[in-house]
Amino acid sequence: MSEQIDQALARKYDAGFVSEVESETFPIGLDEDVIARLSAIKGEPEWMLEWRLKAYRTWLKMEEPDWAHVDYPKVDYQSISYYSAPKSMKDKPKSLDEVDPELLRTYEKLGIPLHEQEMLAGVAVDAVFDSVSVVTTFREKLEEAGVIFCPISEALHKYPDLVKKYLGTVVPRGDNFFAALNSAVFTDGSFVYIPKGVRCPMELSTYFRINEQNTGQFERTLIVAEEGSHVSYLEGCTAPQRDENQLHAAVVELVALDDAEIKYSTVQNWYPGDENGKGGIYNFVTKRGLCEKNAKISWTQVETGSAVTWKYPSCILKGDNSVGEFYSVALTRGRQQADTGTKMIHLGKNTKSTIISKGISAGRSNNAYRGLVRMGPGAEGARNFTECDSLLIGDQCGAHTFPYIESSNPTAIVEHEATTSKVSDDQLFLCRQRGLDPEKAVSMIVNGFCKEVFRELPMEFAVEAGKLLEISLEGSVG
């Protein structure tokens, strides 16, 4: 079987096309002037520019981290363009009819029609193309419920006080190298605000698309759930197939006030590079949520793309009885490298966290889980359960687990379970003997392995995720 796996690693990447749109793109390079121009194009308030510049100055003093189990040539931050937007977006189209049809076609091709009547019922979409948001659907319906869902650039105009109050409170400007860079140059992303006691009437989702060459994508998402509110949010990502590596350094901040609940799901399918590791997205992301009393934040991620992934969606369980969850499927193949996991920081009493991580490695890829569970001195009766399973396909790939546990409270309980298994010849043979072709067999076995995580995804997306895995696994058995 291993020979068969060795053979075919020709990968199919459905989202690899390039859209022909005329763009306004900054020349490459980064300095304070670039940041000022970017802020001016977006018509940002003065304080925002100040905030960005402070982040930039902090970033200049920082070193790119190298502790992750990934290996890539250092990024030259002066050879990237920090802003690119379709020219047609300059006059700010008021409705879908005014949006460049080529842009709409791009999303249609990706299976995300933006005309409301064609959309998945009950899902509102913010479509971000390179550095700008193209359209946000179902706005009126959401406004009726008092929910704000708009590009963060727009929120800076319309709701500056809300943005100012929360931006950088969960992921501070100088949190880490990539977060500082993002704070300096972030272009767009989504802003979500759910008022007190409101259950958001539909799924919210943002779809990120990188199109231009040599541009970085630096999106910023901020979700605030007021007391007792509830929201489920999903992000999806794709990029064209290019030989050069491209940088995606996002920051996501979640604020769940007392009794609020935020469910954040990601289906990440950035271009992973070819089988020899040429091209692909560097995905360096900081995601963190803050839970106040009785609040709950649940991260679910299905990561199949990117050449290099560096990502640790985390929860700060500040309020008593708050709950953090992390459900993750990370699939690597070809030469992909993923170092992903979570941090659960227990500060409040009786806080609970659950971590279920499923890593699947095929080809010559490397897949690492890195997780921190910290029980602070005040975390009386806190509990964590971690389950970390790795599945290997073939014998040239690697799976690694790096659990860190720090407990300063003797009443806190931390449980950790880890397993490593292989797709066995016996299992493959059984499936094939029952008439399934080897690819179908592997994808079924892998889907079974991921079941506990897929269960956490919103219905429509669970199906999508299963299909995505199937496509990603194509050619991983001979």
């Binding site: 066995s424 043979f429 029952r434 008439g435 399934l436 079924m444 079974g448 991921c450």
Partner: protein, 254 residues
């Protein structure tokens, strides 16, 4: 229906099957007995095309087609079914999903419509009842945490669902209690329709009381050394395989 001629096959460096001949007509039940290590399971694997089992010489035709030329799944699609001696677990994949994929893969290969969920469910429930497995086994992971006997019944359930042309049962009776043995035999008998053929590998004559074979063959050291009717199984039960050594010694003298 199945015609095996002078089959030689090896696993890794060891030749296990050394000139095996077997002719099976539609509707026939052939029992294969023989000492441990004789090559009975190997025969099942070679016929189903398992990786690592290499045919050195000889031929196998099924319905006039060269079986050895086909991939594992193509043989299954052509109607060959193997009930495993040691069924393997597939965690997280429910029996139901597994069988649905499987049934539909076979149907597609035959150019038939795939079954709707409702149609499939009905069929699956019936098969479950026939082998007396509680319905919640459909929701459990394939063989995940099943007892030895439950795994064997689950194999027969798959046989019933997949309606093969020829089924090879590799010790489907081992590890079964008396009642389960009858359940398995009943399940198999329900599938005897005068067209479907069976190769029943067993160590015990008792199974053959329930599943009446047309022929009994003794496999030893990779060859069929004796064939007969049901009475041959009774002989084996009574006197074991000691005579094999004698026969072999005589063979060497001659």
């Amino acid at each position: 229906m199945l015609s095996i001629k002078d089959l030689h096959a090896r696993v890794e460096e060891t030749t296990i099957l050394k000139g095996l001949n077997l002719e099976i007509k539609p509707g026939e039940v052939h029992a294969i007995m023989g000492p441990n290590g004789a090559g009975k399971s190997t025969l099942g694997y070679v016929l189903s095309g398992r990786d690592g089992y290499e045919v050195e010489s000889g031929s196998v035709e099924m319905d006039g087609k060269d079986l050895l030329d086909m991939e594992v799944e193509e043989r299954a699609q052509a109607g060959l079914f193997l009930a495993f001696q040691y069924p393997v677990e597939i965690p997280g994949v429910s029996n139901m999903e597994f069988m649905k994929e499987s049934v539909n893969a076979l149907r597609e290969a035959r150019g038939e419509n795939t079954l709707s969920s409702a149609e499939f469910l009905k069929k699956a429930k019936e098969a479950c009842k026939q082998v007396e497995l509680p319905l919640d086994f459909l929701k459990r992971g394939v063989n995940e945490g099943f007892s030895g006997g439950e795994k064997k019944r689950n194999e027969i359930m798959q046989l019933i669902m997949l309606e093969p042309k020829i089924a090879i049962l590799d010790e489907s009776d081992s590890g079964l209690d008396v009642d389960a043995l009858q359940v398995v035999a009943k399940g198999v008998n329900s599938q005897r329709d005068g067209e479907r053929s069976f190769i029943v590998v067993t160590h015990y004559q008792r199974l053959l009381d329930y599943i009446q074979p047309d022929y009994v063959h003794i496999l030893s050291k990779g060859k069929i050394v004796k064939s007969g009717g049901p009475e041959l199984a009774k002989e084996v039960e009574a006197s074991g395989y000691a005579w094999l050594a004698e026969a072999e010694a005589e063979g060497a003298d001659a």
